[in-house]
Symmetry: C2
Subunit: 163 residues, 2 copies
């Protein structure tokens, strides 16, 4: 049995005790942008209930064009007004460079990605960079509360990054 | 008090009962790509524990360049071998068109986004499109198990999309 099949069996247990549906717009009007890291269960880390916040995640928790797209839809069509950015300690993005990663792909398949891998060497600097990409973007209308944090995978604590 | 501050207070309670750290590579070697919708608590929907799976999320749960980037890092550097795609009923992406959304931004701020908003009119078709973008991409080495699902926000159930 694949892991996917095991997780589908879990879903049947989840659905058996499910009560819904909740409304589409996030009740707390918040959007979270976090790293995809398996150790960050965003709902539990922030004490979120289902239906309260949009959760956007990718490798690093960085802000690229696709996060701008998601945040523009979140703010303009679904009414969110605060943004929480979460990077974390022991992140995979700290362990390689864009150049090396892309060269390894080129050596493997013959084609080098035209995109940036978005690796970074300093967590707090990259949180500030992610905030800066949001603040500087013309498509996001609500920028009063854009705050960045580092999640400590050893303690479970969020520490705010001073901008 | 902002919602962000309330969620930070929740985090202090979470950290107080936290035990870590777990290893960096996802224990179940799975990556999930799901919609950012607030009602989808991916860990609970799939019965995932912290540390088991990468979780990638955006507006729609679609596969754009940034999801390819995240999946390439997930597979090539952190060893994931299965991909689970999750779209859902009552999705905001079913309620608008790219043209209208981008025109409204242009009317608001004078600049039209150069990116696609990735709205869609048919859930199952868009799940198949997301799978196709993964299967057709040269940078992802492991494509044996790429399966797509629709999450029903009324029942909590995942239904597999036939490819």
């Amino acid at each position: 049995m694949s892991v996917t099949d095991e997780l589908l069996a879990n879903n049947r247990a989840y659905a058996a005790q499910f009560s819904g549906p909740l409304p589409l717009p996030p009740a707390e009007q918040v959007a979270v942008v976090a790293c995809m890291d398996a150790r960050i269960d965003v709902y539990r880390v922030l004490g979120l209930q289902e239906g309260e916040a949009h959760v956007i995640r990718n490798a690093g928790g960085v802000v690229t064009e696709d996060e701008i797209r998601s945040l523009a839809i979140s703010q303009r069509l679904l009414g969110t007004r605060e943004i929480i950015l979460i990077h974390h300690t022991d992140c995979g993005m700290l362990t390689f460079t864009d150049d090396d990663f892309k060269r390894s792909i080129q050596q493997d398949v013959g084609v080098k990605p035209a995109w940036a891998a978005e690796a970074f060497g300093d967590l707090e600097e990259d949180v500030r960079q992610s905030v800066a990409r949001i603040v500087g973007n013309p498509f996001l209308p609500v920028k009063d509360s854009v705050r960045g944090f580092v999640f400590d995978v050893a303690t479970g604590e969020l520490t705010e990054v001073q901008l």
